[in-house]
Amino acid sequence: MTVVRTGPRVVLKDAGRLGYAEYGVAPSGPVDRAAYTAANRLVGNRAGAAVLECLLGGLVVRFDAPAVVALTGADATLLVGVTEVPAGVAVEVAPDVPVEVTTPRAGVRSYVAVAGGIAVPPVLGSRSTDALGGIGPPALRPGDTLPIGPAPAGHRGPAPGGQLSGGLLSGGLLSGGPAPGDGVLVVTVDLGPRNDWFAPRTIATFLTAGYTVAPASDSVGVRLSGPPLPRSREGELPSEGVVRGAVQVPPDGQPIVFAADHPLTGGYPVIAVVHPRDTDRLGQARPGQTVRFALATDFLEDP
């Protein structure tokens, strides 16, 4: 596969880089896990195969050999030559036909899976680009060529136009689903591990106020602006391990929700953790989107 054009940013993502924490390496992986998983299923790949994660469209690639590709994630279209192929459909592509990801109408990140997976050599067991840690393949540039793995064994390939159906479709998209254009994106959280650093009335603010996605958001974290969340205690928290979806509150009180490329450890208190599927949706939110946090209604046992 040859990269003709990249748009703002295209990186490789697979299931992530687990088990290397003792080297100081964070998990990374896709920002929108549901869309990543769906893309691989559409083309018959094994779970964990590497795909392209494309920010705001603009990607054009060509293949040297016939390929089967599928687009998921943001609400974009795959242009195969002059044919428009909607997201969520596997399509066969002839050699040398340009394949383009259009600028999404909603959401920000598209996933392009190719049957066989992108087969660059893994770094520490993963083909994911870790933007913060600087590990894994660099962002793609025009002219790059990427090897495609052998078509999945035992898989006959989807019928052209084959679709996934059912639970993976959310709001018409094969992703965790970006928020509707004007509406409020409600994300579910569990409080902790450091909600005891905040007064009850601050937690009430956190769970009722609207927060706006700031332009500085990226694959490391979604930065939010809104009513500040002051701490109720003095002193420094010793750095501790953090997770994807953690809502970290720096001294300025403006929360940051960690996305796929979050640091391994953080030194600011984490007031709550966003549910995995809502972390996907938050990762598709555009700057200016209003977000509200809602406490999970299903019972999370005390850990």
Binding site: G192, G241, V243, P263
Partner: protein, 204 residues
């Protein structure tokens, strides 16, 4: 030992101090609990990352609470000697803060046996604990936007060597040409939890 909620895919276990955290880390690591994907030890906590398709925070909590953890120390992962040119921008300030000469700071740093306790901040960044409590200095009030790879630093009772050019708030006392992080090396990190470190004064 206190368990803290950390969403659906992890449990944060909090203990009294660093020794207890490292003992817990070794204990949970050795137990190889089903569905546990990764462990992140830190100064007073161990983050246990889990696969929710295989286990749950509650199950992991029960398994960890039932482990015989306590006396375990970090496994010895060998000793590394790191040559340092002690000409860091903050060496004089560190000496002032401790009320000693710069030479005495260097003497304390080179005579202490350091142990890599845990990693974090950046790939290959290891928090080193020493056996000389007289090297405890605070972080800088304002972090630097760029610290060069190889900078040798002190903060909060720890020492460290910056593995790559990054921002940072620690006090810089010297630099080394030793590479802390190299993805083409196995393992890529020079220092992993349990590695002992001796710093040696080098002229260049």
């Amino acid at each position: 030992m206190r368990f803290r909620r950390c969403g659906r895919e992890a449990v944060l276990v909090e203990v009294a101090d660093l020794d207890a955290a490292l003992a817990l880390y070794e204990g949970v690591r050795a137990a190889r609990l089903p569905g546990v994907l990764d462990l992140v030890p830190a100064a007073r906590t161990v983050l246990v990352r889990l696969d929710p398709a295989v286990t749950s925070p509650a199950r992991v909590r029960h398994r960890i609470a039932g482990l015989a953890v306590g006396e375990g120390r970090l496994a010895d992962r060998g000793t590394v000697e790191i040559p340092v040119r002690y000409d860091g921008d903050d060496l004089a300030e560190v000496a002032d803060h401790l009320g000693v000469t710069a030479d005495e700071v260097v003497a304390r740093h080179t005579s202490s046996t350091w142990t890599a306790a845990f990693a974090g901040f950046a790939p290959g960044f290891a928090y080193l604990t020493g056996d000389d409590p007289r090297l405890d200095v605070p972080r800088r009030a304002t972090p630097r936007t760029r610290i060069p790879a190889g900078a040798v630093a002190l903060a909060g009772g720890f020492s460290a060597v910056y593995p790559a050019d990054t921002p940072g708030g620690w006090q810089l006392i010297g630099r080394t040409t030793t590479r802390l992080w190299d993805v083409d090396r196995d393992p890529p990190a020079l220092l992993v939890p349990g590695t002992r470190v001796r710093f040696r004064r080098a002229d260049r």
